[in-house]
Amino acid sequence: MIVRSPEPGGELPSGAALRVAFKVDPGWESLAARLLVDGEDVTEECGQRIAGTHPPSRVELVYSPPGGWAAGTHEAAVVAPGERPDRWTFITG
């Protein structure tokens, strides 16, 4: 993982998107990692931005709840197979 925006403990404006970017291997075809927000798997609701290098180099998940972020502290977690979950919290509104 190369980007966590906001970073741990950081503040996210109520309308902004949570971003998590990964550096991927040259043979990358699909993202195995899942993004959880407040314990819910939101991976399928994320936009998945793929940088246009060849071979692939970078993928970014972008997430914002349809109704916007509820004010308060939220927990994000990236869960990748065979690895310990990477968890952090951020603040909105």
Binding site: A17, E45, G47, Q48, R49, G52, H54, P66
Partner: protein
């Protein structure tokens, strides 16, 4: 189509609530610690070929695409456009780029992620090959002596500022880049609604990376999940096209940056504002 619709709705929803635009921080730059001859020697014909798959794609249109476009290989290659080669973490990558008219006659405009990890290190073995075609290098190989990107890309990988530049060394004859190949102009803060000619060297299947292609398309949408919103056009170019210039008239107004995994045949590029202008000024003065 339904998935694309859901994605677009999501993008709009994200954008309606998006944060205000950044101020204009300075560009980030790094002098390249490699000699011109070392970089040129690194990019053998074999290494260039090995970065590309074998299947070929033909010129085509996007009648089934949500956003119309026409893609074709130009009959004559404008040598201001070319293919970019670099190394990161021991892996050789390809992108695309555009030679720009500038004070030092040596600026190549591309995507931020074609020069820097965002955030992270700048790349090595960075070279630009104008009008590259199936391994031929009619204007030679131009090694970077400095790489630059915007501060938002360098610091946080902000996709809205995925713009990069290289300043290349003179060739062995002492000629500057644009002295030999000419250069496009560049525009900032122009209206986003334009008819774009997006240039690139797509290398991921079904393309080979050996040929230049142009996607012609009107602005199709804005990705308002980015702030400021990026611009989207219909185009089916694949990986390797990143960094290729979006030309209007003679000016580059954006570069190929990214696509969405579940939105086929749409390419996004940054809206060039004052941050890009500062990057260009820094590169021109390097």
């Amino acid at each position: 189509m339904r998935r694309a619709g859901i994605l677009l709705l999501t993008l709009v929803l994200l954008g309606l609530l998006s944060a205000p635009a950044h101020a204009t921080p300075p560009a980030a730059a790094k002098a390249v610690g490699q000699s011109r001859s070392d970089v040129v020697a690194y990019w053998t014909a074999e290494r260039m070929r090995n970065a590309t798959p074998v299947d070929a794609a033909k010129a085509g249109q996007g009648p089934k695409a949500a956003y119309p476009f026409t893609r074709y290989e130009p009959a004559t290659y404008n040598p201001a456009h070319g293919k970019v080669f670099f190394t990161d973490g021991g892996v050789n990558y390809v992108c695309s780029g555009t030679a720009l008219a500038s004070g030092n006659e040596s600026v190549v405009w591309t995507a931020g992620h074609c020069v820097n990890q965002g955030p992270g290190a700048f790349y090595t073995n960075w070279a630009f090959v104008p009008a590259y075609k199936d391994g031929a290098r009619p204007y030679g190989t131009w090694a970077a002596r400095a790489l630059l990107t915007t501060a938002p890309w360098r610091n946080s990988g902000d996709i809205s500022y995925d713009e990069g530049a290289a300043v290349v060394s003179a060739n062995a004859s002492g000629q500057t880049l644009t002295d030999l190949v000419g250069g496009r102009g560049i525009g900032f803060n122009r209206p986003a609604e334009q008819h774009y000619l997006s240039h690139g060297y797509p290398a991921a299947r079904p393309f080979t990376g050996g040929r230049m292609f142009i996607c012609e398309a009107d602005l199709a949408l804005r990705d308002t999940s980015a702030s400021p919103p990026t611009m989207g056009i219909g185009c089916d170019m694949t990986g390797g096209s990143s960094g290729g210039g979006w030309v209007v008239g003679n000016d580059v107004l954006s570069v190929n940056s990214y696509g969405y995994g579940n939105l086929r045949n749409v390419l996004f590029g940054p809206y060039q504002d004052g941050v890009a202008q500062q990057l260009y000024a820094s590169a021109s003065g390097s």
